[in-house]
């Protein structure tokens, strides 16, 4: 009897210990990866020159990443201009209007599936539709439009969660004042759901910044020219082929002589991700406090 109990005790200790180790293992893997990238990349970034000089290209990839940063910002702006309104509107439709019918089921089915499609497929689509069919050529516009479809499910889902968390009583009190549905949504529902929607936007910025497969296929990999936001020739907006930071990192890492620079680009990317995560956590913390006060 005593040995049986001590056996169970030993099993318990062993199992719980293993679970604990696996939890901490993941944290240490993360710290190791980030530490490794920072160790090799941080000195280059801290010289600041790297961030603010244009790239020169070449085998060793001299110069900095100014144009890549610019291209990344353009891409974020370009894709969010398209994806944010459509995504938020779609979420409003699904939470506030959608009746239980076939079309709604179809819409939900489409969103589920869009979320599961790998980015390389979005890239192929962007290449076939925007680059070739609409004749955008390799351009940030083609990349931005492909990416905007990719982040659409992210924005819709998070916005939907945010809208659902607005208490039903808010809507009823507003409607009871004789105000119509759009006024209720714009004046009552959207402001209360704003933090949640913002979280969705930040999450999708993270996806856009980290995306590379789509852009290699749809935006190309031109490096030395400064990307323009608008131009007088077709397709008028974001017409230039350009590398974002993630795409640039890919090309740097795969050419042996430029690998040292890839670490610096990696540090910049990780900083962006850290910053976005910090913002998201601040928002959810503020949100929780607000709810607690209520």
């Amino acid at each position: 009897m005593k040995t049986a109990i001590s056996k169970i005790q030993a099993e318990e200790d062993f199992a719980l210990g293993a679970l604990k180790i696996s939890g901490w293992l993941i944290v240490s893997v993360l710290i190791f990866i980030i530490g490794y990238i920072f160790y090799y990349g941080l000195p280059e970034v801290l010289s600041w020159n790297y961030l603010f000089t244009p790239p020169e290209g070449g085998r060793h990839d001299n110069g900095g990443i100014l144009y890549q940063i610019l291209a990344t910002v353009y891409l974020i702006v370009g894709s969010l201009i398209v994806a944010a309104p459509i995504g938020i509107f779609a979420a409003i439709y699904l939470t506030e209007y959608a009746p239980q019918n076939l079309i709604t089921t179809l819409i939900r089915f489409a969103i589920e599936n869009l979320a599961g499609i790998p980015s390389i497929i979005y890239g192929l689509f962007g290449l076939a539709f925007f680059v070739i069919f609409l004749k955008f050529e390799y351009s940030l516009l083609a990349g931005a439009l492909s990416v905007s479809i990719m982040v659409l499910p992210v924005i819709i889902r998070t916005s939907e969660e945010a809208l659902k968390s607005v208490p039903q009583a808010f809507r009823q009190s507003s409607l009871a004042l004789g105000v119509n549905k759009w006024q209720t949504i714009s004046k009552v529902v959207l402001p209360s759901a704003f933090p949640g929607i913002l979280t969705g936007i930040l999450l999708s910025i993270g996806r856009i910044v980290g995306e590379s497969a789509v852009l290699i296929l749809a935006a190309g990999g031109s490096i030395t020219a400064i990307p323009r936001f608008v131009s007088t020739t077709y397709p008028y907006v974001l017409p230039d082929s350009a590398r974002t930071l993630a795409v640039h990192l890919y090309y740097q890492a795969t050419s042996y002589d430029a690998r040292a620079k890839a670490f610096a680009t990696g540090v910049v990317l990780i900083f962006i991700v850290l910053f976005l995560n910090w913002c998201i956590n601040q928002i959810s913390k503020g949100y929780r406090n607000k709810l607690a006060v209520r």
């Binding site: 719980l16 604990k20 490794y36 309104p85 599936n113 599961g116 790998p118």
Partner: protein, 323 residues
């Protein structure tokens, strides 16, 4: 007196004007209301249209290949030489994709589920506050950064073990297993947390230990959710392109499954996704480009099957938690 009438008249006019203003305002707000409803509906339809267009374009462009080569040569061909011999066999890539995915799963499913159990059942709140942001951060790190880490750290490590290239299926498996961990952890954790407290308490009341409760009650009760997590991460691993491309070597031959290469682990390979990324830079319009779309179509088919399976499990999980 005259002044009084004048005043009355103006007041009446103001009243009438106000009435019409209000009516106009009402009309406009009613119009905006209806207009916005239609706009919301159209926005929601964008998702449907996009999915339709993506499916149509990828499959249509892929099917063009079969004007040049029979579909069996494509699916079961061993050789990929699109430029000189015009051979478009993707069987090695299908095998490599499956190999890499299964390998990543073998490492990260046990680890991820263990971490999820730890987070949901054992870890103190302060520990949770360290691990959860770490998992969140891990899911946010771009795939090229993982690729860079693999290329700079894991590949040389494998290279040091013997006379091998370093770029290998094993490197891809390790990188992928790190990348899919957040998916497994977060979805499994939700599933484990959804297990009713009464179930656990009844088990503890019978005198079982925490581990026995976890093994005998918590895991079986959350099994559909955990399965969903695993299936979703299969989709993620199967579809990952950039990180794998950077560490797998991208040779077009069949992986070498002999024991000398650790049954393929140390062999170079090319997956479906890396085929597209690798060849797109020099593919000419015509059979080569179509073959890349056809590769995408095969990948898409696999993903559709994986998603459909996860949908079935997800539904079963929700039915279970409702009953």
């Amino acid at each position: 007196m005259k002044g009084f009438y004048q005043l009355q008249k103006t007041m009446q006019e103001i009243k009438i004007k106000k009435y019409f203003d209000k009516k106009e305002k009402r009309f406009w707000s009613g119009f905006v209301n209806l207009f916005m409803e239609q706009l919301f509906f159209l926005s929601a339809c964008v998702a449907v249209i996009s999915l339709f267009l993506i499916t149509a374009y990828v499959f249509y462009n892929g099917f063009k290949l079969f004007q040049f080569v029979p579909i069996t040569d494509f699916l079961f061909g061993f050789d990929w030489d699109p430029v000189t011999q015009k051979l478009f066999g993707v069987l090695p890539m299908i095998i490599a994709s499956c190999y890499v995915t299964v390998g990543a799963l073998i490492i990260s499913a046990p680890l991820g589920i263990a971490c999820a159990i730890f987070l949901a059942e054992i870890a103190s709140p302060s520990t949770q506050q360290v691990i959860r942001p770490a998992v969140q951060l891990l899911s946010g790190i771009p795939s090229v950064v993982f690729g860079l880490f693999g290329l700079a750290f894991i590949v040389p490590l494998i290279q040091d073990t013997g006379d091998v290239a370093g770029l290998s299926i094993l490197a891809a498996i390790i990188i992928l297993s790190i990348m899919i961990l957040p998916t497994i952890i977060s979805i499994s954790e939700d599933a484990i947390k959804a297990v009713p407290k009464e179930l656990k308490e009844s088990s503890i009341a019978l005198g079982t230990t925490r581990w026995q409760t976890i093994l005998g009650v918590v895991l079986p009760a959350s099994s559909s959710g955990i399965l969903t997590a695993i299936i979703l991460s299969i989709g993620r691993a199967f579809g990952e392109a950039m990180a794998v491309k950077m560490v797998i070597g991208n040779t077009q031959t069949m992986p070498d499954f002999s024991p000398q290469t650790g049954f393929g682990l140390l062999s170079l390979a090319r997956t479906l996704t890396t085929n597209i990324v690798g060849d797109i830079e020099y593919a000419e319009p015509g059979p080569h480009l179509s073959a890349l779309f056809a590769t995408g179509a095969i990948l898409f088919l696999f993903i559709i099957i994986i998603n459909a399976t996860s949908y079935v499990f997800l539904r079963r999980a929700s039915v279970k938690s409702n009953s």
